[in-house]
Subunit: 361 residues, 2 copies
Amino acid sequence: MPKRNSNDVSQEPSKRKATSIDIAYKAGVSQSTVSRALSGSPLVSEETRQRIQAIADDMNYTVDKNASNLRSQSTKTIALLLADDPTTDDSHINPFFLSLLGGITHSTAKRGFDLLVSFQQLSQNWLADYEEAHRADGLILLGYGDYVSAKDKLITLKNAGAHFVLWGPNHKELPGHSVGCNNEQGAFLVTEHLLSQGLKKLAFLGDISPSNPEFHTRYIGFNQALKKYSTSNNPTQGLQVDAHNTEAAGKHAVEELLNNHHDLQGLVCASDTIAFGAIKALHSKGLKVPKDICVTGFDDMAAAAYITPSLTTIRQSTAQAGELLVQQLMQQIQSTPVESITLMPKLVIRDSSLAKISNTP
Amino acid sequence: MPKRNSNDVSQEPSKRKATSIDIAYKAGVSQSTVSRALSGSPLVSEETRQRIQAIADDMNYTVDKNASNLRSQSTKTIALLLADDPTTDDSHINPFFLSLLGGITHSTAKRGFDLLVSFQQLSQNWLADYEEAHRADGLILLGYGDYVSAKDKLITLKNAGAHFVLWGPNHKELPGHSVGCNNEQGAFLVTEHLLSQGLKKLAFLGDISPSNPEFHTRYIGFNQALKKYSTSNNPTQGLQVDAHNTEAAGKHAVEELLNNHHDLQGLVCASDTIAFGAIKALHSKGLKVPKDICVTGFDDMAAAAYITPSLTTIRQSTAQAGELLVQQLMQQIQSTPVESITLMPKLVIRDSSLAKISNTP
DNA sequence: GTGCATTAATAAATTCTTTAATAAATATTG
DNA sequence: CAATATTTATTAAAGAATTTATTAATGCAC
């Protein structure tokens, strides 16, 4: 009964992928020794290890990931699920998430993990597809912060014992852990920045429905700053207009606002994208930013520094966020207890908010 | 000899993942029938199929991907390898690739494939890691268009029988197939657009070393347009300054240029990012775009429309490119013969290039 | 230096879960 | 009832990891 594998090798070296049995045959050892040698097990002598390694290299052998994973019941892979955002125009990915992806990829690679990227409609039953199916050891969820509609899914995930981290606010009602930016604080900082320059009448541009908790929280920070800076003889005034996270929505919101409020001094936009649209709309109405009206954003997307006037905004470090998301997930996988993390946002002051120094041409 | 699996189930339902054996036991059929039923094989009656499906759903069963892959020797996964670009500032991903990623993700998902995303230094030996290790059925390579340094790797890939597509120019020296934009044509279009307005003295901003074939090809298109519009009594003039794909490089290039050439009329930038830097530098020198000097980009990144003045550029449809990359790869996997594809770029005219209508504030 | 326990190194057998090929059983039809 | 069609069961991979078994080598007491 000759070993089938060992014979075939001689026929077509490059045609068939070598297996550990082939290596074992060539090295004159058993398959198990090959497996252990290549994984650096102390149960195999250094001498045979090197001999086996040399043969493996020579035969261009690589461990079959599927077989290895099946046996060891782990995948060394994490899945990144991006919620397909129906509010965004086209099928474009939220640029902030795309940027986050960069950080996450680096952080997973650093740990020798693969990253599986996938889009999922919020409505679909993606629970089963990843950790359950042994495709990944853990999940990173982007865009599932909408606890109203995602809550049930997350509870199911939690009950199934899946490992997952959520990007977003750390809401008590949501199961699991999250890494997110302190949206309240961010909005507070940027609003305070405007108020400290003496502005009194501001508007918040962003959808504050409960299905959009991030914007909602930013709105709270906006109001807190207004309250702090309000005095009885010189009260602050705060408006709000709904706007989804698109440029078009930003334009729209501005048009709606300016019809009724000609004395607006500043726009606190819930995202950079909204701010881009708002600035465009203001320009087309003949208003100059920041001379006539100040505008601020949130996210510090790459374009924020490019536009004219450059946009004052809140920076969320995607590299740091990505690293923390991965870190937290790894800890969960290793059954280390974790806590949700809130990142402190940073105010980035640029031209669009400088009321006094009207340096726009 | 009782079936171990079937017994365990009763102890801890949510603790252990159900296998097809468990389903079979519960349904009173054999394991193979379960496998066939769930994969929709015609060899199993509709009635039993539904019964088994119901039980599987009930027990929250999912096919183990690793076992399935191991057995069927396919992965239903493709790997996206991004070349870690050392020329870009920080470890930021080329934003154009990030955008391409969006298209690719959608296209792979549409076909029921998973997408594995990974960064790889050009120098690393990533050949073995993917198709060889049965992690993916095929590879999409972004940023490996530099055939000088990537050529050997690609030849090895090719010889190993791997399936891969390259994003980039279809260079004869490179093995394998590619999907890319007609860079020559794109640069020609944008240059022609400037020349047709009567501009005569232009500069190309971009690194044209052979290690950057895309920029190099764009430079060729630039020169072709110059040649076409040159007349003996009114010759065109074309300069060139090296610039890597960063904003800083764009700034630098402009500073270098303006020292010696005060009469420059237009800048053809090899990428939008370079153009952003160039415009900033021009503004800080007190020059107005497009009144004093016209600027064009290449890529049509999201920010191109946001900046002031909005940037005239060449659009490469990332959605279409992604779809074609995936499509080509799938054909290779199915052993259908494929041809390299060249996409026709589209000129997007915005404010930054309108020499006559000086509508910059 | 022999006998026995101990340790190291390796081999053999089993396991992970699924799919595919083949065999067997049942149902259907001429 | 034989012959075919349909359905289900059995068995055999797929390739690596791991548990258990085996062999060889070493240490120590007598």
